[in-house]
Symmetry: C2
Subunit: 334 residues, 2 copies
Amino acid sequence: MPDPSPASLHVHIQNPAGETLFPITRAQWDQAVARAGAAGQALTVSIADDDAGFSTAMARADLLITWTKEIKARFPHTAPRLKWVMATSAGLDRLAPFDMIPPPVRLLNNSGAHAVKAGEWGVMAVLMIANRIPTLTTAQREGRWQPIFTRSVAGRTVVVVGLGDLGGSIAANCSLLGMRVIGCSARGAPHPACERVVTSENLDTVLPGADVLVLAMPLTAATQGMITRGMLSLLPLHAGVVNIARGAVIDQDALCDMLEAGRLSGAVLDVFTPEPIPMGHRLWRTPNLVISPHVSSDDPDTYNPRTLDIFFRNLVAWRAGEAMPNEVDRTRGY
Amino acid sequence: MPDPSPASLHVHIQNPAGETLFPITRAQWDQAVARAGAAGQALTVSIADDDAGFSTAMARADLLITWTKEIKARFPHTAPRLKWVMATSAGLDRLAPFDMIPPPVRLLNNSGAHAVKAGEWGVMAVLMIANRIPTLTTAQREGRWQPIFTRSVAGRTVVVVGLGDLGGSIAANCSLLGMRVIGCSARGAPHPACERVVTSENLDTVLPGADVLVLAMPLTAATQGMITRGMLSLLPLHAGVVNIARGAVIDQDALCDMLEAGRLSGAVLDVFTPEPIPMGHRLWRTPNLVISPHVSSDDPDTYNPRTLDIFFRNLVAWRAGEAMPNEVDRTRGY
């Protein structure tokens, strides 16, 4: 590989060793460069999945694209030219408080890569709650024919907590089906798919009117354990819960208790505490629950192309001296 | 009850004895009359759920609204003034060849009452197939954490067989999510939600390109057993099957064999042979299958209001001497 000219940037991509589903390939990089037009010029790229490749690259890399778990395992590391690091996850909670990569190195997430897939999964999960699929699969497990007639979702209310990449897309799809969408976010800013948006402090005021509660917020110090037993108790009896955020945003044992007691109608969960769910864990025995093993948002066909397009969008902003749309605010945690 | 004047019509509503979820009430009738405006004038109504009430009403009723199973159990019956009978089901396959109510009495179905609910259930089932929920619930049943990453449905192909009330609404919702929808119907007439529509004879030509096959056709002599083992073998390995039609349209044992062998990725079924599924039936043990106990299309909040609105729509047409939109063609069977 030729030494980059002084005007060029060295981009390093570190794949996890043994990654078979989602490694970023040279062909994917070349295609993204072609899509990026002018932004793809004056770049040198290296791709590795081993320790030696990483160390060699860090001696000269300006920009790094890698997995959250790789950042966690490999940093702090000497990287004298490193300007910013893009993680391929939407939520970087596992890296907080981010001190393995101190400033001035900047840290970017991958928000935007998951919207289409997560939006589809989310509206599916909402429809599954409304159609009582968690209860029907519990009956099926026990060989019981148990007809339950349910109302249409059109006109019913879904409360979506977190209106980023994932939650915003779920809100939009629920709205397409004629649902009334109430959003909840840290600042309560308006959102085009939501009839209204409340701040986190006012979440309790909208829960009694919710038919479905969707959790799609980042895991931060502020959202850790945010959905307490008391919060869940504000939901009506027929309501259900969807979690596409992180297991730690909710009191999981309270949720299991309430599903067992019939105090909530059902849950469709993609995230858990811990993951993978250990053998014999109570979640495997909890009725009225559908378990999705953290697969809601990652489309193997489109994930890397979208990740690289997001990289180039941020590169353009950075070169122009503008704010990078995916830069993580280390204080708020996302 | 006063005798109806010569210009008025006597409408009788016969609810099944003991029906608790869906009996048509006097209040629902009165509200429908109010919505119907002029069409609700000059009508006398009687409502019963017993033998005596039925026999008394049949001596003078002009029009009858009742359940398919009631028609099957109570006719032939003397009913000298009866002009037409509206059944509250969309599919009247259980009454074919309809000889218990011979012409000139006309027979109407309830197509139109199920569109919203069935459309929501159908797009949910399509998303469940695409997200491999049938396989994930099988893994959950066995306490196995088995991540399977799946592609977005946007741009993928769903083949919808039957484009009536149910299939048309499912096609429209799939189209909203960016899916490519290919329809299939007896005559192959174009449909606004479908990229193209093939006739039943050409269904085999589109199955190899299907990601999901949705069955929503009426059960008739022509569709009985239409989805054979050979037809299912034309689907790609990753495809799945949704059935909201009737159990008898498909070779159910072939489907179970293929789900067990991993020859299809999954199925979400609302209808079966027989119903209810007996204890110990192989369906309860079939992997990669989600069982919904024939509850996809009946919304207890809206079913009767929509049924009565459809009744009045047909009444207006009949009084004007026009074709009634819900009249069953006894020869084709729907």
